[in-house]
C-alpha cells in the first residue's frame, strides 16, 4: 500500500503529476468531479479516455470512419444521401432496440443469444393478431400481446439461468434454436409469410411504426419539445445538486451537452425532411420509429440509472456476492432482466416487420444474423461483455453503426461478395470492440470476475 495513493490529490487534474497511478485513478473518476470549469473538465475527460474508460468516443469515431469510407467507395458517392440515411435510420432502429435489450442482460454478466429468435416470434405474434380477416385485434392489443408473450419466454429462460444456474449462453442458445423452429411453424412452413394490409387501420398503424412519417413542421416542433425537456432536466439536475451543496458539472459543460443534443437532433430532422420520394410522389418527414426508439432509450435509461431494479443489475454485474449480502434477490433480478430483455426484443421484432414493408417471411427474418448484430451493437457501443459497465445509449449508438455498415455494404456493387461482407465486417468490428473492452479493463486493473 503505497502511502502516496492515500494522500488527497489536488482537484485540478492539470496540476497532477502524470504518473501511471494518478492517470489510473483519474481514469475512473467522472470528469465533472474534478473540474469546475471547461478547460480542466476537458483535460480530465481526456485523462479518462486515455485511461481506457472512453465511453462513447470509439463508437462515434467509428461512425465517422464508416461514413467517410462508404461515402468514398460507394458508386456515385451515394451513401450520405438523405434517402439512404433515412433508410439506415429505419434499419438501425431494429438493431438499436435489440442492442438495448441485450445490454440489460450483458450488464448482469450474462448473455442472451435468443434475442433474435424471440424478437421474430414477437413480430409474428403481433402481425398475426391484427390480421383481418383473422383475429382482428386492435393494434395496441396485438403489440401488448407480443410483448407479454415474449416477456414470458424471457422469464422462462431467465428462471432456468437464475434458479438452476445453467449458463445463460446454453439456455439462450437452446432458446434460439427452439424459437427459430417455432417461428417457421408460426409462419406456416419454410416459405410461409405474413403481411400487413395497409388499407386496414390497425394493420396500418403497425406498418406506419417504421414506414410512417411525421409531417416536417411537426418534426421540428417535436425536436423543440424533446430538446427543451432534456435540456431542462439536465439543467435542473445540475442546479439541484448545487443547491444541496453537491458537486455538479460546470454550467458551460451542461450548456454544451444541451447544444450537442439540439445539433444532432436538428441534423436528423433536417435530413428526414428532405424529399426522399420521386418527383411524382413526395416522401418526407421524420419516421415515427425515431421518437419510438427515443422512448425506449429513455425508459431503459431511467430504469437502469434511477431505479432499484437498475441499480441491482449493475451491482450483480459488478459483484454478485456483494449484491447477495446486501439482501438483493439475485434470482428475481436476473429473471426480470431476462423477461424485460425479451419483451424489449419483441418490440424490435415488430419494428423489423414494419421496416420490411409489413411483410414477415423466413427470408427477411434471420434470427442468427439479428443476434450477432445486436450483441455486436451493444459491445461496439461500449457495453462490457464482463458485466456491470455500459448504458442503453451505447446500444443505440452501436446499433446505428451496425446498421450503417450493413447498408453500406449492400450499396456496393460487389455481387456475390456482398452477403459474406455483411457478416465479415460487423464480425471484425465486434472483435475490435471486444479487444478494446478487454484491454481497457486490463489497463485499469478492474476486472471483477472472470
Amino acid at each position: 500500500m503505497s502511502p502516496d495513493r492515500e494522500t488527497p490529490v489536488t482537484a485540478d487534474p492539470g496540476e497532477t503529476p502524470t504518473g501511471t497511478a494518478d492517470a489510473r485513478m483519474a481514469a475512473d473518476v467522472p470528469p465533472e468531479l474534478l473540474a469546475q470549469s471547461l478547460g480542466p473538465y476537458l483535460r480530465a475527460w481526456w485523462l479518462r479516455v486515455r485511461g481506457g474508460d472512453s465511453g462513447v468516443l470509439p463508437v462515434v469515431l467509428a461512425m465517422v470512419v464508416v461514413a467517410v469510407t462508404f461515402q468514398i467507395i460507394t458508386p456515385q458517392h451515394a451513401f450520405l444521401r438523405p434517402s439512404n440515411l433515412v433508410f439506415i435510420f429505419g434499419l438501425s432502429t431494429v438493431y438499436m432496440v435489440l442492442a438495448v435489450a441485450e445490454t440489460v442482460v450483458l450488464l448482469l454478466g450474462e448473455i442472451d443469444l435468443s434475442v433474435g429468435a424471440v424478437a421474430l416470434i414477437g413480430g409474428v405474434i403481433a402481425f398475426k393478431l391484427v390480421q383481418q380477416p383473422g383475429p382482428g385485434w386492435p393494434w395496441w392489443a396485438a403489440i401488448l400481446a407480443a410483448l407479454v408473450s415474449c416477456g414470458l419466454i424471457g422469464a422462462l429462460q431467465g428462471t432456468l439461468t437464475a434458479r438452476l444456474r445453467i449458463p445463460s449462453f446454453v439456455v439462450t442458445l437452446a432458446g434460439f434454436l427452439l424459437w427459430s423452429g417455432v417461428l417457421i411453424v408460426a409462419l406456416g412452413g419454410a416459405d410461409g409469410f405474413v403481411n400487413l394490409d395497409s388499407t386496414k387501420f390497425d394493420q396500418r398503424v403497425i406498418y406506419d411504426l417504421v414506414q410512417g412519417a411525421i409531417v416536417p413542421v411537426a418534426g421540428w416542433v417535436l425536436l423543440a419539445v424533446v430538446v427543451g425537456a432534456a435540456g431542462t432536466a439536465l439543467w435542473l439536475r445540475a442546479a439541484g445538486r448545487r443547491r444541496h451543496g453537491l458537486v455538479a458539472p460546470p454550467m458551460s459543460v451542461t450548456a454544451i451537452r444541451i447544444a450537442l443534443v439540439a445539433l444532432v437532433g436538428a441534423a436528423v430532422v433536417a435530413i428526414c425532411n428532405v424529399n426522399r420520394g420521386t418527383s411524382l410522389k413526395q416522401v418526407d418527414g421524420v419516421p415515427w420509429v425515431i421518437p419510438i426508439v427515443l422512448v425506449v432509450l429513455g425508459a431503459w435509461t431511467l430504469a437502469l440509472q434511477r431505479t432499484r431494479f437498475g441499480r441491482y443489475i449493475y451491482a450483480i454485474g459488478g459483484n454478485p456476492e456483494a449484491a447477495r449480502r446486501a439482501g438483493v434477490s439475485l434470482a428475481a433480478i436476473r429473471t426480470w432482466a431476462f423477461a424485460l430483455c425479451s419483451a424489449t426484443a419483441a418490440l424490435g421484432g415488430i419494428l423489423l416487420g414494419a421496416f420490411f414493408y409489413g411483410e414477415y417471411s423466413t427470408n427477411t427474418a434471420d434470427a442468427g444474423q439479428l443476434v450477432l448484430y445486436s450483441v455486436a451493437a451493444a459491445v461496439i457501443g461500449g457495453v462490457s461483455l464482463f458485466g456491470g459497465r455500459g448504458k442503453p445509449i451505447h446500444g443505440v449508438l452501436g446499433g446505428f453503426l451496425i446498421g450503417g455498415i450493413a447498408y453500406g455494404v449492400s450499396l456496393l456493387n460487389l455481387g456475390t461478395l456482398s452477403t459474406p461482407l455483411q457478416y465479415i465486417l460487423p464480425g471484425g468490428v465486434l472483435l475490435a470492440a471486444v479487444l478494446i473492452d478487454v484491454l481497457s479493463r486490463r489497463g485499469t486493473g478492474s476486472v471483477t470476475h472472470v
Binding site: M1, P8, V29, T307, R311, Y314, A315, A322, A326, G327
Partner: protein, 275 residues
C-alpha cells in the same frame, strides 16, 4: 438480568457491569463431517470492543457468519438484548442492528461510494432513487468518521486504495444506527495511517455505545482497542474475559495450544468440554 446469572462468569467480568447485547450459548456448527464450532459461549456487551482471536481454522469466520445470519447453528442459542433470537439471514441480522464488514469487503467495483454504501437499502423519492439525499447522508457519515482522503464520493470503488475501501466498508456498516458491528480483519491490508484511522474509528463506535467485535491476527491492534478478548482454538472457546486479564504471551498460548499456564480467565464451561 436474571439470565445473566446463568452465564458462567456473570456480569462482574465486564468490569463495570455492562449488560451483554449479544450472548451465544452452546453454539455447535458442523459442515458435513467437519465440526467447526463446539459449544461456543460468547458475550458481546454494548459499549465494549471484543477482540476475537484464533489461529487459522479456529472457527473465527464460522462464528462471525453465524452471528451475521449466514450460517445457522446446529445447536445452541443466541440472545439479543436478552431475547432468544434466530438469525436466518443477513436481513434478519440487519433488522436486529447487526452489521458485518467481511474481509473481502463485498463492494461492487463498478458502483461508486454512495451506491455501495446504500446498496440494498436505497432511498427513494417518488419511486426513483433519491441520489442527492443518499449522497448527502453518505458524505455526512464519511466526514463523521473522518474519511477525508477520497477525492469524491462519486468515484467508483475500483479507483480506491485498499485503505479507502476498508473505510467505505466500515462506514457502510455503521451508517444504519447499528447496535453491533462485526469487523473481520479490518486492518489486515492497511498502511500505518489507515490502520490508525480504523482503530480510532472502532474506539469512536464504542464511545457511541455500540458493541464491536474485531477479528484480528494482529495482537497489537487487538490490545490497542479491545476491552475484552475471546480466544478460539479448534472450534472451542478456550478463553474469554477482560483484556486486562490477558497479556500478549497468554493470548498466543491460547491461540496455539488451547491453554495457558495457570491463567485464571479460562471459562469453566469450555474447559470441561475439552476432553
Amino acid at each position: 438480568m436474571t439470565e445473566v446469572n446463568e452465564a458462567p462468569e456473570g456480569a462482574s467480568s465486564y468490569g463495570d457491569g455492562g449488560e451483554p447485547l449479544l450472548r451465544l450459548r452452546g453454539i455447535d456448527k458442523h459442515f458435513g463431517p467437519v465440526q467447526a464450532l463446539y459449544g461456543v459461549n460468547l458475550d458481546l456487551p454494548a459499549g465494549r470492543v471484543t477482540g476475537l482471536c484464533g489461529d487459522n481454522g479456529a472457527g473465527k469466520s464460522v462464528l462471525t457468519r453465524t452471528i451475521a445470519g449466514v450460517h445457522q447453528p446446529d445447536h445452541g442459542q443466541i440472545f439479543f438484548e436478552g431475547r432468544s433470537v434466530h438469525i436466518r439471514s443477513a436481513r434478519d441480522a440487519a433488522a436486529l442492528g447487526i452489521e458485518t464488514v467481511y474481509q473481502d469487503l463485498a463492494l461492487a467495483d463498478n458502483l461508486d461510494i454512495v451506491q455501495n454504501m446504500f446498496l440494498g437499502r436505497e432511498r427513494l423519492r417518488r419511486g426513483l432513487l433519491d441520489e442527492d439525499s443518499m449522497e448527502l447522508r453518505a458524505g455526512e457519515t464519511l466526514s463523521t468518521l473522518r474519511v477525508t482522503t477520497v477525492r469524491s464520493i462519486r468515484q467508483p470503488v475500483a479507483s480506491l486504495s485498499g485503505g479507502q475501501r476498508q473505510a467505505v466498508a466500515v462506514a457502510k456498516a455503521v451508517m444504519w444506527n447499528s447496535k453491533l458491528v462485526l469487523l473481520d480483519e479490518p486492518t489486515a491490508a492497511l498502511g500505518v495511517v489507515q490502520t490508525r484511522m480504523v482503530l480510532d474509528l472502532i474506539k469512536r463506535l464504542r464511545d457511541h455505545g455500540l458493541a464491536v467485535m474485531v477479528i484480528s491476527h494482529n495482537l497489537n491492534d487487538v490490545f490497542e482497542v479491545a476491552d475484552r478478548i475471546a480466544v478460539l482454538y479448534l472450534g472451542r472457546m478456550v478463553a474469554e474475559g477482560p483484556a486486562a486479564d490477558f497479556d500478549r504471551q497468554s493470548v498466543v498460548e491460547y491461540m496455539t495450544t488451547g491453554g495457558a499456564n495457570g491463567r485464571p480467565s479460562e471459562p469453566a464451561g469450555s474447559a470441561s468440554s475439552e476432553g
